[in-house]
């Protein structure tokens, strides 16, 4: 256990050194991700100029919605900073035999492959997210109770865990399917569903879709549950959903690990 922490610390330091060496790149990356986020915020403001609420009686008026957006920014920042960089290289790594190198080391392969490179510039969005949450929470009709503040970090952690599980599953798919250039696209499409509050998925088609994306592929739990807990009053159903989220996070991480182990057991390795 200690050893893994030390390895993590070594990777952390190495990535930090690397990011600081390429300072210009770091600043450019941070700036562009901030730019992206600013454009999305502008879009949301544009939409809110035409309507007071996203989904009638859903509760997602402007301030709660921005708590949602801020939560999304924080969760995605953590994932983009600590997990995505390693996995983005993954397809290329598999192609050039980097996976061989990892399998030979006396370290858990999943750990090595998902945590060896970090991108600290992605944290910029997370900081803005925190500011956004602070601003929006201050303007809520009913401020959140203390228990909500306790649950919030835990649920954010669950959201990160669920996304990590997806990443691991995609990595396993890369190993089996060879060059998967659309890994990053795939990621975008999956997380795209959670860009807006789950309540927008209503009606004859939306209802079932919401169910599937909550209980089968729990993508709608990631941002929704922590944001809802903080910004809106909780019903009985919402409380149950919190428990579901905790369970889903554990299950997702466990299942994705199994998938990953299965993938490396079947690994064929590029020809020499």
């Amino acid at each position: 256990m200690m050893r893994y922490l030390r390895i993590f610390a070594t990777f952390f330091q190495a990535s930090l050194v690397r990011d600081m060496t390429f300072r210009l790149n770091f600043l450019l990356e941070a700036t562009t991700s901030l730019g992206w986020m600013a454009m999305n915020l502008a879009f949301y403001l544009l939409v809110f100029s035409y309507t007071p609420e996203i989904g009638r009686d859903s509760g997602w008026t402007k301030e709660p919605f921005f708590v949602f957006v801020g939560t999304g920014l924080v969760i995605n920042a953590i994932v983009q900073a600590f997990f995505m960089p390693s996995v983005e290289e993954f397809a290329e790594m598999v192609r050039t035999g980097g996976l061989d190198t990892a399998l030979v080391k006396p370290v858990d392969a999943q750990f090595l492959l998902s945590l060896h490179r970090f991108k600290f510039s992605a944290l910029a969005n997370g900081l803005v997210g925190v500011v956004l949450i602070g601003w929006a929470v201050g303007r809520l009709e009913t401020p959140p109770p203390p228990v909500a503040w306790l649950l919030y970090p835990l649920l954010v952690g669950c959201g990160v865990a669920i996304l990590y599980a997806f990443i691991t599953a995609l990595a396993a798919a890369t190993i089996l399917m060879g060059r998967n250039q659309s890994l990053y696209d795939f990621w975008f499409y999956i997380t795209n569903f959670s860009r807006y509050p789950a309540e927008i998925y209503a009606g004859p088609w939306g209802g079932p879709l919401r169910m599937i994306c909550t209980f089968v592929i729990p993508i709608l739990l990631v941002v929704n549950v922590p944001a809802h807990t903080l910004a809106l009053p909780l019903s009985g159903g919402d409380r149950r959903l919190i428990l579901v989220t905790l369970a889903a996070a554990a299950a997702a991480v466990g299942l994705s690990r199994l998938a990953f182990q299965a993938a490396i057991a079947k690994y064929r390795s590029a020809s020499s």
Partner: protein, 288 residues
């Protein structure tokens, strides 16, 4: 090296071979391919639900001249337009081949690099349409009530013309962007900025008409933000064809729009060729 690059015109005799090689290469990883086609529909689903939710509390059945159904039609049409004009990996691919030196093999062979890339993209699009035609047709058939039908012949002609030009414009803009790799080692941030601008200002995210209500400038200068955005080339990669089909542009406006699009295509072609010639001359063969 430069002599070969400069002398390369359009290699007509080798074109079909290149085309079939590109196609074969594209289909070499079919798992990728099949999945990618399916995935492209997903963001539209979210958009439809989003706008339904927006309208449900909006207190009006029309936003910026679009009804809820119009929004659905609009986003489906942007998918068609984007399938013509989006060039995934083009700019970054060029930049990378410059960075790792693999661009040398194209400079040394008697083949026009830009022409080769264009052939590769045409191949990619052809294959994509071959496989994606069925799902597209199905979706459009299911949603046919959202669209104005039957369309007038001039509208159809203008629409098709705008799509073809949209393909060329998208290609040339991204190719030029990739050529910056001859000057900058890390072009990925520049590419990202381009993607950002394109996503927001092309109408991919929302119809540009939504910006018409925002006034820009002082009194006596009645410009809206929408007018300004329409001056940029980005609108032709998503918004413009959709606006044609949905009847938002008629008569003189339509003609002027098409002419502007053509002008942008020419400008981009010149920029691309210029960047390529200057870039190859500067090329130092980094990497490898």
């Amino acid at each position: 090296m430069t002599a070969v690059a400069r002398s390369g015109g359009w290699p007509f005799h080798g074109w079909t071979t290149m085309l079939s090689i590109c196609v074969a290469d594209r289909l070499a990883h079919r798992g990728d391919f099949a999945l990618g086609t399916l995935m492209r529909f997903l963001p539209i689903v979210t958009q439809i639900f989003l706008w339904t939710a927006v309208f449900s509390a909006a207190g009006s059945t029309s936003i910026a001249g679009y009804s809820r159904n119009d929004f659905v039609a609009y986003y489906l049409l942007t998918m068609v337009a984007r399938s013509f004009s989006s060039m995934p990996g083009l700019a970054s691919g060029i930049a990378r081949s410059v960075r790792d030196g693999s661009v040398k093999k194209y400079l040394v062979q008697p083949v026009d690099y830009v022409g080769f890339l264009l052939a590769a993209r045409v191949a990619h699009k052809l294959v994509y349409f071959a496989v994606a035609a069925a799902p597209f047709a199905l979706v459009f058939f299911l949603c046919r009530s959202f669209f104005p039908w039957p369309p007038e012949p001039p509208v159809v002609a203008a629409y098709l013309a705008s799509l073809v030009m949209s393909f060329l414009l998208g290609f040339l803009l991204e190719a030029t962007l990739g050529m910056l790799g001859f000057w900058f080692l890390e072009v990925s941030s520049l590419i990202f900025v381009y993607m950002l601008a394109q996503f927001l200002l092309s109408g991919h995210m929302f119809p540009i008409d939504m910006l018409d209500g925002i006034a820009v400038g002082s009194a006596g200068w009645s410009l809206s933000l929408g007018d300004i955005v329409r001056l940029l080339p980005f609108q032709y990669t998503a918004y413009f064809p959709c606006a044609i089909w949905l009847g938002k542009l008629r008569g003189a406006d339509l003609a002027v729009g098409l002419a502007m699009e053509a002008a942008w295509v020419v400008a981009a072609a010149v920029a691309c060729r210029f960047a390529f010639l200057r870039g190859t001359r500067r090329y130092s063969g980094y990497g490898g």
